[in-house]
Amino acid sequence: MSDTALTRDGDRADGTVPAPRRRVRIPAAAGLLPFLSFLFLFLLLPAYGVVKKGFGGEGGGGFSPSTFFDVLSSESKAFRGSAKVSLVTAVLGVVIGTAVAYAAATAQRPKWLRSLVAAFSGVAANMGGVILAFLFFTLLGRQGLGTKLIDEGVGYQLYDTGWFDISGFWGWVTVYMYFQIPLMVLVTLPAIDGLKPAWREASSNLGGTTWTYWRRVGLPVLAPSMLGGFLLLFANAFSAYATVYALNNQANVVPVKISFGLVGDVGGKSSEPYALATGMIIVIAVAMGGYLLLRKRAERWQPT
């Protein structure tokens, strides 16, 4: 292959320079065309279809924002349900995830601990879904091993107190933590690596206590990552469908309502699931936009 190429070059060097081909000038961006059209066809068109039908009048035609707001107000309970589970799991995820990341990053002894936590987080953050729900049925379901052990061990009957059910709100929260904590660990580990030991030494040389260090140096540096992580976790929980559907297919949250509407909407006439999906896209877009902005800010102190 390369031999023939060499001969060809040699020929050219002999003076038989081929006449310069006339080239039509194509803008450099043209090379992006396949990629852009793929995104257009399989992401933007569906999104446009959702928004158009979400804002459409009865029968799917025309433009009537009132349908959109009607659906949103009649399903406000689903939005509140989604917001509540997202908020609670995001706050808990940020707090516990940051603590775990800090503990793993600063641990001295088993050298492999940090890599293990990072690798496991990579796996668990992508878990979710039906399988995860099954795992927790066996642990904290009415006949679960954990439920039994808590009863035998400390005499606390989880299901007699009424607040906990694996198919209820706190059950969802428990299951969501299985992917929210690892996701936060992944987001915040680089930020914790960015905390330089020298800053701590400087702080204590200037007479600062541990508390001063955290209040004046540590937390301000971590704050953008933590806030960004909060938004990412919120969006993540808000859009989760499979997990909550497998736990309770009657759950009053936006994704389950959308799937109900879609399966029921055989003729394609109803605008309800599309209005719900539009509302969902808006919520996620705001959260993700905030996350991307904060990530830029957070990367300032991170080692590259």
Binding site: P34, F38, A119, V130, T138
Partner: protein, 287 residues
């Protein structure tokens, strides 16, 4: 001296408790799943004297004997293969083109690749129903209908992986060297560029495969008989088998993804660690 070690031990007490509690939380469901998949003792009868009784592989056998197990797995593997092929075919040329010809557009393309985050799977399913059910029924009802949408869903992960693979090599020098030796574009790609970014291509393919093999939302709403949809239905009529299947899936994905993390760790990091170890430096001296 001893008071200092005592204080440093004490300061590790909190973090270590956090780590132990978390390890417990993350391991407990796996243990309970394993028990339920492989032991046939009803929970009320389980105690210290029956804990070793009636362990069986029947649940696992039921999985493999179910008539829908292999077809659904094959279907999902086919979808995964098609998704990987389209992903690589679309993204590798695009990413290389952006790096070589229009580096200014890198930020823009990166931004476009995270757009799928904004349209969650359930909203994408609504979009497929809204647009393709009305305008392209053949695509909507085709068995390959899910493939392009899986490419889109995996895009944020796959593009980042391929992009990182290109950044890690000096692609311009490679291309210039190969071209000035007379190689055409095909040879340059095949013999100079792609072999050097092999690990990033492998990791992009792995990520795509795990996305496809785990995706439930769109397949369920569009009623396609994929592997995750089968897992869910199987649990409905064969609970112990369903739990056994969950366990097998978990083990397989953990091995796949765990292997990937080791494989995809940048060579530079590995080399740096090795050098550190050789020089006797421990990077763990943080606080």
């Amino acid at each position: 001296m001893s008071s200092r070690t005592f204080r440093s031990r004490l300061s590790r007490l909190g973090p270590n408790l956090v780590l132990i509690a978390c390890a417990f939380f993350f391991i407990a469901p796996i243990i309970s799943t394993t028990r339920q998949a492989m032991q046939r003792v009803p929970m009320p009868l389980l105690n210290w004297s029956s804990v070793f009784d009636k362990w069986t592989l029947d649940g696992i056998k039921k999985v493999f004997e179910d008539p829908m197990f292999w077809p659904s797995l094959q279907f999902s593997l086919k979808l995964a293969a098609a998704t990987v092929a389209i992903t690589l075919g679309l993204l590798v040329p695009t990413a290389l083109y952006v790096h070589l010809r229009i580096p200014k557009a890198r930020g823009l393309v990166e931004f476009l690749t995270v757009l799928p985050y904004v349209v969650p799977p359930i909203a994408l399913a609504a979009g497929i129903a809204a647009f393709y059910r009305a305008n392209a029924r053949w695509l909507f009802s085709s068995q390959w209908a899910l493939v392009p949408f899986y490419v889109v869903m995996a895009l944020p992960f796959t593009y980042r992986s391929i992009d990182a693979g290109i950044k890690a090599i000096d692609v311009r020098t490679l291309v210039d060297a190969s071209r000035s030796l007379g190689a055409g574009w095909g040879t340059t790609l095949r013999r100079a560029v792609l072999p050097n970014m092999a690990s990033s291509l492998v990791s992009a393919s792995f990520l795509t495969t795990t996305v496809v093999l785990g995706e439930f939302t769109i397949a369920n709403v569009l009623n396609k008989p994929t592997f995750p949809v089968f897992s869910f239905q199987f649990f409905g009529y064969e609970p112990q088998g369903g739990i056994a299947l969950a366990m097998l899936t978990l083990i397989t994905t953990t091995i796949l993804l765990g292997g990937l993390t080791i494989l995809a760790r940048p060579k530079a990091v590995r080399a740096a660690r090795k050098a550190d170890r050789a020089a006797g430096i421990t990077r763990t001296t943080r606080f």
